[in-house]
């Protein structure tokens, strides 16, 4: 193979070389372990980088410095955070349900890690190429809601119960648009397997890639998927369940030390897993943006796109104010859900119309028209809400 291809497949080559030293009976187990261990190492490292990136990014947006004492520009901060969370005292309330209190973060982290099993990180680099990969991913992300409830209930504290109820209501309402926004990709690619979906986007016309995000329904689907993913991970502007200024930490208020770190890890891993799924479905997975950049290894493009999406999450967190609970629910059921259904219709129209300008015009009109109408209908302007008049004490 050429040098570029060898660099691209370096991990696969190393894995096969290591497997040759394993006796034949142990090969399936060793192959599974060799596939899983890099993911278990790389993504927590990425989590550590994300924490410092988030704190510095948010700080810069808020015109302050962020952590800058631990290493050059504060990049060794995760080590300090890790040492702190491991050595803090693990306080469990006396009336708490100890077994469930312990199991909740474990279930959260397990569900978050399981989602990475179907994400293709590079060419030929996926842990498990399942026939129903997309369905598996969404089934696993519904385990997270149960873990959130277990955390909130077992703490026997009113704040944590409120936080858990809000979090579950939010996660359930945004799970439906998340799945519907992914359905359009499954319709277009004709398969539920993530590897086949990425392969369907790996072609180029001229230098322009065939990613699904460059079609009207794909762009809308990507936007809706990212909004629903922000709500699924309880990140700002949908972070009322863990609003730090309102109910302090919501459902993990009674957790300290390592269990809190596990919650943090689980939440960020979930955010990264959903971003990775968005990359797989809409942004072409490991495919390079332009055809002349194909010599760069495929895993580099995957992690570059992942970091770009994470920076997008951090940017939005620093910019938008928090949504109230009823605003959040209204947004989901009255705006996002109808838009996803219309997106499905637009994708179907795209599939059956012949290629050309007319296809673009019709599909864009099918999406943009109701977008404007729904936006007007669900906003506060049409409801007779007047500008607030202040009356001061006389």
């Amino acid at each position: 193979m050429s040098h570029a291809q060898m660099l691209d497949q370096i991990f696969v080559i190393v894995k096969h070389w290591l497997l040759a030293y394993v006796p034949a009976g142990w090969q399936p187990l060793a192959s599974a372990v060799l596939s899983v261990v890099p993911v278990l190492i790389v993504f927590p490292l990425l989590f550590a980088i994300t924490t410092v990136l988030e704190r510095k990014g948010l700080a810069r947006q808020q015109n302050r410095y962020g952590p800058n004492r631990v290493g050059p520009w504060g990049i060794l901060q995760p080590i300090a955070d890790g040492v702190k969370s491991l050595t803090k005292e693990d306080i469990v309330p006396r009336s708490a349900d100890h077994m469930v209190h312990l199991l909740a973060p474990l279930l959260l982290v397990t569900a978050a890690f399981l989602g990475y099993a179907v994400i293709p990180i590079g060419r030929n680099m996926v842990i498990s190429d399942m026939n129903g990969g997309v369905l598996f991913f969404f089934a696993i992300s519904s385990l997270v809601e149960l873990a959130v409830f277990m955390a909130g209930w077992s703490s026997r504290s009113k704040y944590s119960l409120f936080g858990a109820m809000r979090a579950i209501a939010q996660m359930i309402s945004y799970e439906v648009p998340l799945v519907l926004a992914a359905i359009v990709v499954v319709m277009a690619a004709g398969t539920l397997s993530t590897v086949s979906i990425v392969n369907a986007q790996a072609g180029y016309t001229g230098i322009w890639p065939h990613w699904f995000v460059f079609t009207p329904w794909g762009f809308t689907g990507f936007a809706l998927f990212m909004i629903a993913a922000t709500a699924e991970s309880n990140r700002s502007p949908f972070d009322l369940p863990e609003g730090e200024s309102e109910i302090i930490a919501g459902y993990y208020i009674e957790y300290s030390g390592f269990k809190f770190a596990l919650f943090f890890l689980g939440e960020y891993l979930g955010m990264m897993a959903t971003s990775a799924m968005a990359i797989t479905l809409f942004l072409g997975g490991w495919a390079a943006p332009f055809s002349f950049l194909g010599w760069v290894p495929s895993y580099f493009w995957f992690f570059a796109k992942l970091l770009a999406l994470i920076c997008g999450f951090i940017w939005i967190r620093g910019t938008l104010p928090r949504l109230r609970m009823d605003q959040l629910m209204n947004f989901s059921w009255k705006f996002i859900l109808p838009m996803t259904l219309l997106n499905v219709i637009a994708a179907g129209a795209w599939h059956f119309m012949p290629g050309g300008v007319w296809r673009w015009v019709v599909c864009s009109a099918l999406i943009a028209g109701p977008f404007i109408v729904l936006g007007r209908a669900t906003s506060w302007q049409g409801k007779g809400v007047a500008v607030r008049k202040y009356r001061y004490a006389e």
């Binding site: 349900d97 469930v100 026939n131 129903g132 089934a139 385990l143 149960l146 409830f149 398969t191």
Partner: protein, 166 residues
């Protein structure tokens, strides 16, 4: 009987027995979830991928959460569920044991014991899609109708009355 089947079966039976036997209602629902996971693994072991994933998605992500919400809103204090007095409990167990013995007798006397294993079917997701849209399109549409009716019905039944009782 393979070791995988034994482990999965033990997990499922433990979860379901705990779901029926524990005192704390929340623990019952969590044990039920464990039993659902065991059943989904059994479906995957048998090669029915689609059924296994739908089981996790619908039962664990839907029914278990629904049960938990219901427990939360209907318990005034600790969610403890008392067992019935001894005669009821004994009668229930005896009836269940009777049902199980009849079924076990029927199963062991039938020809299911010696039946060999056919080659494993390679079911692609497309085949499931085709089956849903061709052979089973009528049940699919009826399911849609049923779910709509159930949704509206559940909302109507659970809505508080005019005096704002909730």
């Amino acid at each position: 009987m393979t070791i995988t089947f034994l482990i999965l079966a033990a997990l499922t039976i433990a979860g379901m027995a705990a779901a029926m036997g524990l005192r704390n209602l929340i623990h019952c629902v969590l044990a039920l979830t464990l039993g659902f996971v065991g059943l989904a693994s059994l479906y995957l072991h048998l090669g029915a991928e689609f059924a296994g994933f739908v089981q996790i998605l619908v039962y664990i992500g839907g029914v278990a959460i629904l049960a938990v919400f219901a427990i939360m809103t209907t318990q005034s204090a600790e969610p403890v569920a008392h067992r019935r007095s001894a005669p009821f409990w004994l009668a229930g167990t005896l009836v269940a044991a009777g049902v199980f013995s009849v079924l076990a007798w029927a199963i062991t006397r039938s020809g299911a014991h010696g039946r060999g294993l056919p080659p494993s079917p390679q079911i692609a997701a497309e085949q499931v899609g085709f089956a849903l849209m061709r052979a089973y399109v009528l049940p699919l549409e009826l399911m849609g109708l049923l779910l709509t009716v159930a949704l509206i019905g559940a909302v109507v039944v659970a809505t508080p009355g005019k005096k704002g009782e909730l």
